[in-house]
Structure formats: structure tokens, C-alpha cells
Symmetry: C2
Subunit: 371 residues, 2 copies
Amino acid sequence: MRTRVTEMFGIEFPIFAFSHCRDVVAAVSRAGGMGVLGALYFTPEELETELKWIDDHVDGMPYGVDVVMPASYEGADLGVDSPEELVGRLQSMIPEGHRKFVDDLLAEHGVPPLGGDAEAGKVLLGWTDATARPQVEVALRHPIKLLANALGPPPADVVEQAHAHGVKVAALASTARHAVKQVEVGVDVVVAQGTEAGGHTGEISTMVLIPEVVDAVDVPVLAAGGIGRGRQMAAGMALGAEGVWTGSIWLAVEEADTPETAKNHILAATSRDTVRSRSWTGKPARLLKNAWTDAWESEKSPGTLPMPLQFMLISDALRRIGRSGNSSLATFPAGQIIGSMNQVRSSRDVVFSLVEEYVEAMERLNRITDS
Amino acid sequence: MRTRVTEMFGIEFPIFAFSHCRDVVAAVSRAGGMGVLGALYFTPEELETELKWIDDHVDGMPYGVDVVMPASYEGADLGVDSPEELVGRLQSMIPEGHRKFVDDLLAEHGVPPLGGDAEAGKVLLGWTDATARPQVEVALRHPIKLLANALGPPPADVVEQAHAHGVKVAALASTARHAVKQVEVGVDVVVAQGTEAGGHTGEISTMVLIPEVVDAVDVPVLAAGGIGRGRQMAAGMALGAEGVWTGSIWLAVEEADTPETAKNHILAATSRDTVRSRSWTGKPARLLKNAWTDAWESEKSPGTLPMPLQFMLISDALRRIGRSGNSSLATFPAGQIIGSMNQVRSSRDVVFSLVEEYVEAMERLNRITDS
């Protein structure tokens, strides 16, 4: 297959795999696609370890890193560079009623408390300038080929920095207007992501969004949201995309370090078992729908807090839920495509079956017009 | 183009155009697609007039009729065959607080009252067995080729009746499970409709839904939701559909009798200006987002009533809003594709540009794999 994207990165298939798991990233790149490591959950030190591992296991194939530098968040105007100081300033902005709501919810579901305080980096994650910039520094010390940014256009100086290292920059967009802004700051590839995608997502469906974005920008567009099979990849390309960006389908592959409870949830879920909710980060994100997301929509809910306060509020709760193995509250980002994921396969198998079904879809399409 | 659907109906292009306007239906069928008249708003006598007109103007090309026989609605268990009696029984189930909410909302927006009572058929529309069955009787007296049903599987005896007349039956499905049930009662074609579609719609996006439905049933599937351009038609076919079902794109064509205010709204709207709301019929439907849909989501809202009570409650208000020319409250079903509709064209032009862009998309797709 050949598009501007396969040329740009020297890859065989224009299949981008977003994953927080280094094994998946390396396996997809080795299979001819392009793995992209989500840096969000890692401290700079941890990220260094992960990327070193990928360098050692990717056989020289190209890969990328995804950071989150939201265009807007609470505390962005404080001008605080130290994560520890930022956490301190922000903690006081979390209302007591919200803390009580979370504590009561966990008590109701029998989730025991945890000892010890979490480090600042684990409470803020990479959701602020203060925490994401050090990740960028680490990433650019490795032979990455792509730096992707979610939640708005990346800061112009970060784009320049990446380009100076010969690294292409991608950004996620959920409207054509956002895509135009991203290209204005120098983004090389737009990931147009429909509402059916997992994680932070807009309201427009992939079917409607892709042609709008393709018509609005000159750079290549990747289709994201609802893409997990070759037919969907072919559909994304038919819409005008030059490649696809996938996420949820890598949650349940052999290599994924997704907790067992979550993997089982995903394998059992239907495409109706997700919901767009602010209960994870304060910005709308598609999550597995369960008692957690329901509680935040209930009458008792105090409402969610703006990013990054919401995650600060719940980070401890998420760790408690994870350790308890409680399956009714364990929520996480997941797209509607999880309805199609019913077996655990290797990352390589997933790449190849995407390509195989893509080729079948093309043959079928050609029969429709040739006859 | 050739699929089981073009064979089944003897049409040149597998493009189905749902419209409440007879002119659009006839124009699309004459252009090589298949017009389908939405019967919902017509009394049996009016429907007879419309179909007679189509027969006289369709040049012998095939066309269809769409009725709404919901699988469930308030009053379905009363066993009342007379629309007048049914309206009488149902009126008492509408709470006074709801009537006051609607009156206050219209007063707030300066919409004047109307004189006279509406007929029962205009209050219930075709949303009950009592009102839709007479429409079916009328439709089957005309040379229609397709009877389509929204909101669940059609009653088995209606399917038999249609088949006895040599008429194929289609039904709209928003999940694979619904599609299977529809095929079980004898449906010949499944219209798999994604959440981005206008009107009554489910939660799963077209991108995710179509392969699920195609894999679940043996009959041909039409892709619906978000389809208004040839690239989207190609995407729908890549997903496994054998044709496309379109609706919103016919609201603003030359032939459409859509009120001027509504047409202007559609031309100006972006793909973010719709919302899935129960405020029209009591079941979730995607509507143009405006002061009307906002009011039903507001804190003052008494909540919506079940079908058909909600429309009974608001039918008079909708007529008042329509006559007043008030544009802030004039809501109507519309899909996300309205963001792409920025000019008024003839129905024939829309059909031909769908086909033209479809062919371009295919050429582009083949270049990607051939190179």
C-alpha cells in the first residue's frame, strides 16, 4: 500500500497503533505498521525505560510517542513548572463534597483504602504542560519518527523542537476547525477522530468527520474512531484518509499489559457498552460504561471537575479499584469497536488480519463497479 | 453498479432516498436511485393523493413507502382501532405540568396561539398501529416495490401482506440484535442506521454498526447515517453494505417542500449542530439542536413522555412554531451530515454527484493498493 503516510514514515501498511504498552508498540512496528506509545501514565524516568526497551526490540522499524498537552486546563495560567508545586496549588481547588462522593462510592462497592501517598506525577499524569514537556524531552532523545499530541494543537515551540530532531508531528482533531488550527502550528499529520473512538473524543462520527477534515487541510489525514477491521480500514481510506489510527483493538491483544479484569470486560462487551463521560479527566472521553460512569451521571453526583482536577480527585480511587480487583467500578477508555473484540490474538495477527480483510473489501468493491 | 439490491429492485444505483416530499421521491427514482416516501405525516386520504401523484410522475421507475410501526408504545395494549378513540384515551395520560411547560416555552419565545383543534390523525401521526395500518393498506394499492418500517420489526402479518403483493420489506436497525429479529419476521433488506443519522437513531456509529449487521444477517444491508457524499457511499459499501439509505441530504434540495426557515438552518448548520433527543417523539431521535431541544434538557424540563404521548403533547406547539416563522424553536430531524450541505441543488444533481464522487473514491483506493 502506498500513501503519503507510508512514504513519510517508510512503513508497509498505514496502520497506526496507539498503546500504553511497549510490547504492543514494538510488535506492530515489526509487523509493518507503526506503534505509538502513549506516554501519559509514565514519569520521565519510566518513559526513558520504556523507550529504551522499544529501541532494543523494534528491529530498527519506525515508532512514535503520544503525549497529551491540552490547549486548556485548570492551573495553566499559574505559570508553575514544578509538578509538585502545581499539585499543591490545585489540591485546594477540589471541593470536599467531591472527595466525599468518591469515598462513599468506593465504600458502597466494598473497595478498601490504600496506604501511602501517590507521587505528584502519578496524580497529574501527563495532562499539564509541567508534566508533558519533560516527556517530550525524553522522547526526543530516542530515534522516534512521530510525536503525536492529543487535546488540541501542540505548543508551537514543541513542534519546532520535534522538527529540529527530524521528527514528524501529529495531532488529534475532532472537528475540521481544530484540524486547520493544528496545521497552522506546523502539524504534519492530522488524526481525525470520530465520536465512536475511545478516550477523549468529540461529537462528530468518523463517517461525517473524515471528509470534512480531508477537505479542510492539505496534510495527510489518518482516520480514527471505530476502526478495528479491514472493512473499517477500507472505509476510512474511502473517506479520504491516507491511513488509520487505532487504539481500543490493542487493549486485548496477547502482548497488552491490560489488567485481566479489564481484558475480560472488553472481550464480553458489546458496542453499546461505552459512554462519553467527563468522569475520567473532566473532558469528555469515551469509557467502558459501568457503575463508575453511571454514578457520575446519577442524581447524587456532584458533577465533574475541570481537567486536571477530576483525575487528581479520582487517581487514588482508580488505584484502589485496580488493586481490589473490583470489576463493577473498573472504568477505562474504550471505543465502540470493543463490541467486535471477542478473542485474544497477537498484535502481528491483528495487523495481518486488518490488511487481509482490507484486500478482500477492495476486491468486493471492485466487483460491484466492474459488473 | 451491481449488488443484490440493484438486482432486487432493478435500479441503476443502490441509493435509497428517504423523503416526506413526493417530488424528491419521484426525482431520485427517475435519476436511477430509489425514492422512498415517508408516510408518517399523511392521513390515509393524503397518502393516496401523494402516491397517485408519484405514479403519474415517476416514469414507471421503482419507488417505496416508509411507515412507522413501533414495536412498543403507550396505548399499544388498549386494543383500540379508532385513532379518534385512541387519542381520547391517551390525552388524559398527559400531565398538566407538561402542557404548562410547553405553553410557557412558546410564550417566552413570543409564539402566538392557534385557533381550532387538530384532527386525531395529525396528533397521533403514523406512530401507532391504529394509524399506520391504514397507510399500509393505501400503499399496497399502488405499484410500490418496497415497504420500509422504522422503529423495530414490522408485524409479521404486514410482512406477509406486502410479500403477497410482490413488495419487498425493509426495516431500520440500530443494533445487530434488532437486525436478526427483523430477518426472523421476513424482512428482505436491513437498513443499518448509525447514531449520526437524523430521526430515530441508536447509539452505535455507522462505522462500527455496518460490519456487525452484515455479519449477523444473510439479507442485503443498506448503510445509513452520515452518508451524503460519494466518499461516504464508498465507505458504506466498503463496510459490507450493498447500498446506502440517505435522508437528511434531501431536506435542502430544490424539489423539497421543507419550510424556508428550516432550509436556511440546514444550509448554515455544522455537523455539531444536531443532538440526540427525546423531545420530538419520546424515543431518541437526532434533531437540529436549538432552543427547543435545549429547553427539554434544562433544569426546568419536566422530562419527556413516552411515544406517542410526547408528540401528542407538542404537535400543536410545532404547528404554532411553524406558522409563526419562529426560527429559534423550529426543530426537526436532521443527521450530522447537514454540516456538509451548503447549497441547494436538484435531486438529480445530488444523485449524480454521489455516483461521481463514488467513482473517484474507487479510483483513489485502487491507486493506493496498485502502486
